[in-house]
Assembly symmetry: C2
Homo-oligomer: 408 residues x 2
């Protein structure tokens, strides 16, 4: 049976450099399938759904859509709200009122959880619709999929930044701590090792949240590196901790999910290293550039991101629902992949940590196995973006709301 109606798509959580490639993959596929009458872009993700702030993506210009493919960060706007039961019920009312039969949500673990909850709810409302999660996160911490779209480009940025800052630290003969995003999983911090071509190159020490570090061992390792090379570069995840106590790194502020805002680990470690080694220790935080610095977009990452968007639409229109698209790696060199699926319930609430075989025995670096995993993911774009590109925005043709305003 062909399920005909409208489709909605939204972007959620921290954006990436390639999240719009997934959006454009979905738009271009949706234009080709007969089941989808109109494709609604939810403005600011779930916020847009709840408040019926949708734009008509089929009315957007083809060429503009193609240009938006390369624009970093969520072109529809993103959201960090975690919908509760009231919100989910409202979303379902909106879907029904707008005859939305397909829903696609580009996001991380929280977004996949929301999709699963909506799938369940649709059944209880007896509203036939297909819901597919499109993976996205620079953290690369979704389970089952080989890689998360967004990771390869962020990895290329982090590896480049650490490589370059290492050259600067080496010129001075100083110490340097670079703080990389990653609350629980160290995939991105580990990627900084990709820029280390020779033992003397930084980063010499890499610390991921999966290991708790002994402070004495840490300082001994710092001494050893500094004595050997005359400078020292450390890459550390924001979620770093010492075995005996947490480095004081959390601010009293919380983010939109209620998580404590992280940050400050690099500064705290730099102070500690400076005091111990007796040489200036600087720090850098890669900050929001990690997910937006489009000059480091990876071609494979762009391709994967586009493919998951495209695949989600085609599968939903073939009747699949309550699944997330996954990437299956077929070979690494050349990098060949296929899109598969996994149930949303298998992904929701799960975190993929760096496996032990990717962390070295000393727990201060990565293994060759990790580098083999990650290396194919950080290839540059085939065509570098123009300098300081003039990125377009959607024209934003509004869809008329059908319901009373949502008062939350």
């Amino acid at each position: 049976m062909i399920l005909e109606g409208n489709a909605a798509i939204g972007q959620s959580g921290g954006p990436t450099m390639v999240i719009n490639a997934s959006l454009v993959g979905a738009i271009e596929a949706a234009r080709e399938v007969p089941q989808i009458r109109r494709l609604y872009g939810a403005v600011h993700g779930m916020d847009g759904v709840l408040h019926e702030r949708f734009i008509d993506l089929f009315r957007e210009d083809d060429e503009l859509v193609e240009e938006i493919r390369y624009r970093p960060s969520a072109a529809l706007g993103t959201s960090r709200i975690k919908p509760d039961e009231t919100d989910l019920a409202r979303a379902m009312e909106v879907f029904i009122a707008q005859d939305i039969r397909y829903f696609f949500y580009i996001g991380g673990d929280d977004s996949q959880s929301a999709c699963h909850a909506l799938s369940e709810l649709a059944k209880s409302y007896d509203w036939e619709m297909n819901i597919i999660g499109i993976p996205k996160t620079i953290d690369n911490d979704l389970v089952i999929t080989d890689v998360c779209p967004g990771f390869g480009s962020a990895a290329r940025f982090a590896a480049s930044a650490v490589q370059y800052v290492s050259c600067d630290a080496e010129a001075f003969g100083t110490c340097e701590v670079v703080e990389v995003m990653g609350r629980n999983a160290g995939w991105l911090t580990a990627a900084t090792a990709l820029g280390r071509n020779k033992p003397m190159d930084g980063p010499h020490l890499v610390y991921v949240p999966e290991v708790t570090v002994n402070p004495d061992k840490f300082l001994a390792d710092c001494h050893q590196v500094y004595d050997a090379y005359g400078y020292l570069v450390i890459a550390v995840s924001e979620g770093f901790s010492f075995a005996e106590s947490e480095v004081a790194t959390t601010s009293e502020k919380v983010d939109e999910f209620g998580h404590a805002r992280l940050g400050g680990v690099a500064e705290a470690l730099a102070d500690m290293v400076e005091e111990e080694i007796g040489v200036r220790c600087r720090f850098d935080r890669l900050g929001n550039m990690q997910r937006s610095f489009a000059l480091t977009q990876s071609q494979i990452d762009l391709d994967i991101a586009y493919a998951v968007g495209d695949n989600a639409v085609r599968r939903a229109c073939n009747g699949e629902t309550d699944v997330m698209i996954t990437i299956q790696r077929k070979s690494s060199d050349p990098f060949v992949f296929e899109c598969e699926t996994t149930s949303l319930s298998s992904v929701a609430g799960q975190t993929r940590y760096l496996p032990d075989e990717y962390i070295n025995d000393e727990q201060n670096g990565v293994t060759e196995a990790y580098l083999e995993y990650a290396r194919p993911l950080v290839v540059p774009r085939e065509h570098y973006p123009l300098s300081l590109p003039n990125y377009p925005r959607f024209q934003r043709f509004s869809i008329e709301p059908k319901l009373e305003a949502y008062e939350r």
Copy 2:
């Protein structure tokens, strides 16, 4: 009269993405002139001179030298020491002992001062030698020269970073403060405006150290932008200050020159904006990436940097001394320049501030005249560097010291 002997060259102060292009320009020119017997690379700048730590640059492989041209940050190592009279006398003894007849120092204002002092000293020692300063600073604050090598690439990084981080802030609808290097002069912070193609693009507000800002006007401007565009991006120099009082931004630590270490202005302003606007305000510091992120090397900057190195050697061998090489812009489109000179005494101790005509009337942004000045300087490299390049280091063939060790 042909002055024959050895030549020495050093790199000083904060490195840039193109400082090695100047070094390689000098090496390649020195190989062609008959006057220079050996070219000594001073390891860690003046430190290397004082301690007779020199490497023989003529013994380095041609191909390796050519590759080092593109390596960011000082390949010889850099130094922040400011030589005092005792140091300068020692340097002169080293020059005499090593038969150094030519000295080239790649650096900013402090380095030009050191070169001038050495020129004077050489006369009083009756040691015939030619000393030429090679300009370098991402701050672009040396007087007389149209532009300083290092600025164009740093400007391209800063403009790119702010453009990309703006996309991220827009996706969330948040506020964002980006902190850019610049203690006294706002050239680099101003360059972030180059990435603003449309009024809605960030950075919406740009604050340079040349203006002191009224806090009420500042907050009013923030409100106006946020109300108009639904997000707000501010670029600010680390040397930012309010009219009535300094934002608390200096740490108690000092750098190697005895300057208070700057930093923290972005965080302080972000807190202020967040409280006032009632929307999350994040901050990013561009940090050491500003002078090392080689993926944003500018072709013009690379060309200029190479030219000043080359020109310094040729002029010194033609008898010029006690001057700094300057850039004279002949046209902007296409960018055409010539190398000229100015006396070292005209440069030493001077700072080139952003002129009034480059700052807008509201004092919260730049003028079209500034953009016309800066735009030609940020063109990308003709050939993008490979992903995560395997940069070489010099082989470092040591020169035998001639004097007793220097005990300072």
